[in-house]
Each structure stands twice: as structure tokens, then as C-alpha cells.
């Protein structure tokens, strides 16, 4: 039987230094000429689910309780759960280990290949964000992690502010429809050029993630 190859919609024009295949996804672990940050990392290979039900509190994706208030997030066991509205939550598996397999509940939908998933982190990230969206990503309340849903570079996105330190430093994760991937990456890299933004591999993301959530190490 032929096995289908899975393909990220993001292609950086930088040679990969280290890569591997995982669950039929080619995953770049490190790119040539990665800088000191800020970094843009393609995480489209990480499993993402949507959860929809009239009673979200009965679900424990990855053992994590779904937050009650829309816009709030919960992280545990490598799983980030973002409450979107009264009946929906998004579930992002940030742990690069063994993929969780197909969802067992009918309320869950695997949207991994429907969206692009990017991480933007490092110094000056919120200055880059200000060039791309009118959404207030660096607002003082609530404390990260929190979810904002709205246009980023004019494209409807789910944006999770995962870390904020100082005025402009920190990091965020965001998803949008897969078809916008090339233009989204192009506009983010263009906006971040003056801040030294470069593509980075999964290793850089995991270093940052373990600095935000030390228990993921």
C-alpha cells in the first residue's frame, strides 16, 4: 500500500541543517544561519484538534481541564487547551513526541492538515505584532497564556500569547487556514526583518517552550 507523504504548507527559503521524518511529516529541526532571535518556527506538523460540544467541562484532553472562560488557556502534559467561545475549544499538542493518534470522541475533529501553525518568539516580538495587527497582543491583563481571535496580517487567526517579558519581548503561537500559509509567512518575515527575525527549526521552539514551561523539559 502506498503511504501518503504529509507536507507543511510553509517552505522557508533557507537550507535545513538538521531534519527528520515524523509520522510521515518532514520536520526541520534546525535551519542554517539561525540568529539570536526573534525566531519564526513552522509547527504545522504538531497535532491540533478542535473540540465542540454544549458541555466542554466533561472533556479532559491530555488530562487538562478545559478552561471555563472564553479567551483563557490551560497547559499540561504538553497539551495547550484554548477556550474559543461557549461551545468550542482548540487543542494543540506541543509535545513533539509520539503523536496522539486520531481523536476518539465524536466532539473532536483533527484539524492538523487544515491549518498552518507558527510560533513567533524572542526579543521585539510584540513590535513585530504591532505592524501586523490592531489586536492588543501586549495588553497587561490577562496574564499569559491567553487566546485572542482576530485578524493577524488581515487573516482570521487564533493567537495564543504564551509569554511576555518587558515591553516588547515574549512569544506567541498562532494558526490560520492552510491556504494563507505562504503569504502569512512572507508578511511576518517582512515585518520582522528590521528586528532580525529569521526562520528557525523545531529545536529552537522546544528550547523556548521549556523556558516558558520548565516541566516540558
Amino acid at each position: 500500500m502506498t503511504e501518503n507523504q504529509r507536507q507543511s504548507p510553509v517552505q522557508f527559503s533557507v537550507p535545513a541543517l538538521d531534519a527528520e521524518e515524523r509520522d510521515r511529516w518532514p520536520v526541520v529541526l534546525e535551519y542554517a544561519d539561525e540568529g539570536e532571535g526573534p525566531d519564526l518556527v513552522d509547527l504545522s506538523h504538531l497535532t491540533r484538534w478542535d473540540l465542540q460540544d454544549r458541555d466542554l467541562q466533561q472533556f479532559r484532553p491530555g488530562g487538562v481541564v478545559v478552561p471555563e472562560r472564553p479567551g483563557s488557556c490551560a497547559f499540561g502534559n504538553g497539551v495547550l487547551v484554548n477556550r474559543m467561545n461557549r461551545t468550542q475549544a482548540s487543542i494543540w499538542h506541543l509535545n513533539p513526541g509520539e503523536p496522539p493518534g486520531p481523536p476518539s470522541e465524536s466532539a473532536l475533529t483533527d484539524v492538523t492538515e487544515a491549518t498552518v501553525f507558527l510560533a513567533l518568539f524572542g526579543p521585539g516580538v510584540f513590535s513585530i505584532g504591532e505592524k501586523l495587527t490592531a489586536l492588543d497582543l501586549s495588553r497587561p491583563e490577562p496574564k499569559p497564556p491567553f487566546l485572542i481571535q482576530g485578524p493577524f496580517s488581515r487573516v482570521p487567526c487564533q493567537i495564543v500569547v504564551l509569554e511576555r517579558s518587558g515591553e516588547t519581548d515574549g512569544g506567541l503561537l498562532f494558526t490560520c487556514s492552510r491556504g494563507y500559509a505562504a503569504d502569512m509567512v512572507d508578511s511576518v518575515l517582512s515585518a520582522g526583518r528590521e528586528f532580525g527575525l529569521r526562520p528557525a527549526g523545531e529545536k529552537a521552539f522546544l528550547r523556548w517552550l521549556s523556558s516558558v514551561f520548565p516541566e516540558t523539559e
Binding site: G71, N85, Q88, A134, Q149, G150
Partner: protein, 86 residues
Amino acid sequence: MSLMLTCPVCGRRNGYEFRYGGEDKGPRPEEDGLTPRAWCDYVHMNRCAAGPVKEWWFHRDGCGSWFTTWRDTTTNLEIQPPEDSE
């Protein structure tokens, strides 16, 4: 005219993020004894009032919530519900 709307989940946002869902006409009429004319009026007829109107909006580019809000159609500004609607 510019438009800002207040989503119950995301807060005050640019009107371009929303899709208009029509006037709020109240609950769906009971089917017992419902005439075709009454149903047609419920579905298709609008007040088209110049002034405060209660409307449905969908936060298309945001959280995906449907909600109702009041808008003054002469100024295109979101307004507090008139007292007699409470």
C-alpha cells in the same frame, strides 16, 4: 461610515470582523396554526427602521459567536438598549 461592535467574548472590535445576521425578530413563531403568509412575513419582512434596531451579528473573523446588539441606523453607532426593550 465606520462601525465598531462589541463581541461578548472578544470585546470591542472593527465592524469588518463581523457578518450581519439581520434584524432580531424575536423567537420563531409557533407552528400550530401558522399560515404561509405569517411564516413568509417572519422570514422575509423587516422593519428597516431609521433609529435603534436590535440586530444579530456573527464574529466571523474572531471567536465565531452569534450575538445580538443594538445599533442606531442613522448614526451607525452601537447603542445601549432602549429602556422599553428591557
